[in-house]
Symmetry: D3
Subunit: 141 residues, 6 copies
C-alpha cells in the first residue's frame, strides 16, 4: 500500500456515522449532557456519540450504565476495576482504554493496577486449565 | 438413555486421573498441605488434585496463585471478585463456583455479588457494542 | 516513537504476503474471478488475497462460504446478519466491517442494524449471567 | 467418588438460591407474571427465578429483554435466531437451549436451524483466520 | 430416556435428535462408514450422529475435517494437539474430550499433554496481558 | 478526522508507560538481558518493556514463559505453534504476530503454517457446532 493510501485508510472503519455534539438535539442532547455531568468530563466519548445513531440503544445503555456504575454495596472504583477485568478478558480495546482511565481517575494506583492484571491474567490461565482437564466440581464436605 | 447407562456415563470426562490426597507423596503432598493451610480448608479441591498429575504445572500454578491472591494493594476479597469477573466472562463453570464460594467466605454479601454480576454483564454487552460499531478511540482533550 | 517511525509502522502486521490480483494465475485466478462475480464487486477483498497464500485454504473456505451463504431456507440478508452477530460476539474487526457492509448492500436498514446490535449486546450480557449464576436447565413441563 | 455421592452431587452448582414462584411477592411476582404472559408459557424459567435473587438485576434485565425482543424492524423469530447465533458463539448452554426452543416455537424449521448453524460455524472459522492472518482492512474503491 | 427420568434430569439438552447408525441410509450411512474406517473406531461419535440431522452440514464438515486432519506438512498427532489447544481455549467440553483422546491414541504421552496445557494456559494469560496493556506492535529492527 | 489529528491520535493507547532499555536498572535490566540472550534477539520486545512497569509481573511472567517454552517432551517449534493456535483463537494481535514470527524463526514453513491455521479454523467451527447442538459426551464402548 502506498504511503498516501495508508494515510487516508483508516485502520478500522466505524460502521455508522457518529452524532457529534453540535448536531445533537432533543433527547440525545439531554443524554449527552447527562453523560458529561455524571462522568465529570467536558466531552462526549466516541462510544456514546456512536450509540446515538440508534437513540433507543443510547437511552437504554446509558440509563443502565448510570445505574449499575453508581456506588452501592461496591464503590465506584471497584466497579471500574471489574469493568477492566471483563474488558481485558474480552480483549475489547476501546473499553479497556476508557475504563482503565476511569479507574485511574477514581484513584486506582499503579500498584493496584498491576495486581488487578495479575489476577485477571492468572484466571485466564486457570480457567483454561480447569476446562481443558474437565475438572469435576468439588463436593463441599 | 437408561438410568443404568446414565449412572456410568460421566456427563463430561476428566482427561487425567486425579492424584488423591492419600496417594500424594513428596513435593505434591507438601503443596497439598500448603493449599489446605493457606486456604484454611480441610480438603484439596479437585483442581489441584488434577494438576498434580503434572507436578511442574501444580508447582508453578500454586506458587503463582498463592503470590498473586495474597493481600497487597488490593485486599483478598477484591481479588476473588476480580477472579469471579474473569471466570464469568469466560464461562468457566468450575472456576466460577470455587471463586464465588471463596469471595463469599471472605465477606462478599449477596448485595455485593448482585452488583458484581451487574457490572460484569453490562460490560460484556458494551464490549460487544464497542467492537461491533468499531468505535474509534477517544482523543482525550 | 517518532512521527516518522509511526508513519512507517503498521499498527498490526499481516503474517503472510497477500497474492495480488495481477500476480494470480491458474486456480487462484479462477477463484478470484468467481469471488468478484458471485459477490458482484470489482476487487478482491484482502481476506481472499491473504488466504491465496495457502491455495487449499482459499479453495476450501471459498467453496464453503459460497455454498453456505447462498439463499436457502434463510435469505442472503438474514445470513449476513447472523455473520455480523457471530463476528461482533467474537470482536473480529475485519469480519465485522465486511459483513456489516454486505448486509447493508443487501438492504439492512439503519433501524434493522440497530436492533441487530441490541439483540447481540443483550445476549452477550445474559449469556454471562446464565454462566455466572450457573443457572440449571429448565425442565420443560 | 462413590456412586451414592455422585448421585447426590450436582454436576455444577448454582451460585444463589432461586426464588420459586410460590415464594415470590410484590414486584418480583409482577415480573414473573409478566414473563409468563409475554412469553406465553405457564412456568417461570430458571434464569428469571435466579435473577430474582437480585431484584434490580431482574427488573433491569427483563425490561430490557422485553423491549429488545419485541418485533420491530426485525421480526421476533429473526431476533431469536440472532440470540442463538450469539449464544452458540459464546458456548452458553442454558441460553442456547432456551433460545433454540424459542426460535422453534416461533416457526424456525429444522432446515432453517441447520442453515443458521452452518453460518455461525463458518464465521467462527473465518473470524479466526482473519485474526490469525492479521488481514488488513479493505480500502473500498 | 423415560419421561420421568427427563423431568428429574438432563444437565443439558441436545437441540436435535441424533441419527442413530441403525437409522442411517444413503449418503449419511456412507459417511458414517467412512468416519469409522478413517478414524479406525467401531462406533459413530455423537458429534457426527448429531450433524447427520442436517446432511449438508455433515457432508461438508466431515469432508473438511478428513482433508484437514490428514498428515501433511504436520503429522496427525501435532494436528490433534493443535485441536486440543483451540478447544481448550474455547472451553468446548465435547471437543476437548474427543481430541484429547484422539491425540493420546496417536501417541501423545502424559508428559507431552502436561506441556501442551502449560503452553496453552500460559498464552491465555499473556494474551490477556497484551490486550489489557494495549501493547504496541514491535518495530522489528 | 483531519490528517493532523490522525497523526497525533494513536489508534489505541497503551495503558502504562513502557520502561525503555536505557532506563532499566537492577532486576529489570537483568531480566531484559536474559530475554535477549534466551530469545537470541538484540532488542527487548514491547510486551516485556510494558510488563516492566510492574516488576513482579515481569519477573513471574518471564520465569514462567522461559520454563514453559524450553524444549521438553515437545520441541520449541511445536510449542510456538501451540502458542499461535491459542492466540489466534483468542484474536490477540500482538501475540499472534510475535509467536508467528517466533515459530517461523524456528523453522515453521509456509506449508506448515497454512496447515496450522486450517486446523485452528476448523476447530473454531466445530467447537461452535458441538456447543450449539449440545452434543452429549460419547460413551466409549
Amino acid at each position: 500500500m502506498s504511503d498516501a493510501a495508508r494515510r487516508t485508510t483508516p485502520d478500522r472503519g466505524a460502521t455508522v456515522e457518529m452524532i457529534e455534539e453540535a448536531a445533537a438535539s432533543g433527547r440525545v442532547r439531554e443524554i449527552f449532557d447527562d453523560i458529561k455531568r455524571t462522568k465529570q468530563i467536558d466531552f462526549v466519548p466516541n462510544f456514546w456519540k456512536t450509540l446515538a445513531a440508534h437513540p433507543p440503544l443510547l437511552e437504554d445503555t446509558w440509563q443502565r450504565l448510570k445505574r449499575v456504575m453508581a456506588p452501592g454495596a461496591l464503590d465506584a472504583r471497584t466497579k471500574e476495576m471489574l469493568a477492566v477485568a471483563a474488558s481485558s478478558t474480552n480483549g475489547c480495546a476501546y473499553c479497556i482504554n476508557s475504563h482503565t482511565a476511569a479507574a485511574m481517575r477514581l484513584g486506582m494506583t499503579a500498584e493496584m493496577y498491576g495486581e488487578l492484571l495479575e489476577v485477571v491474567a492468572l484466571f485466564n490461565a486457570t480457567n483454561t486449565l480447569a476446562d481443558a482437564f474437565q475438572v469435576r466440581p468439588d463436593v463441599f464436605p
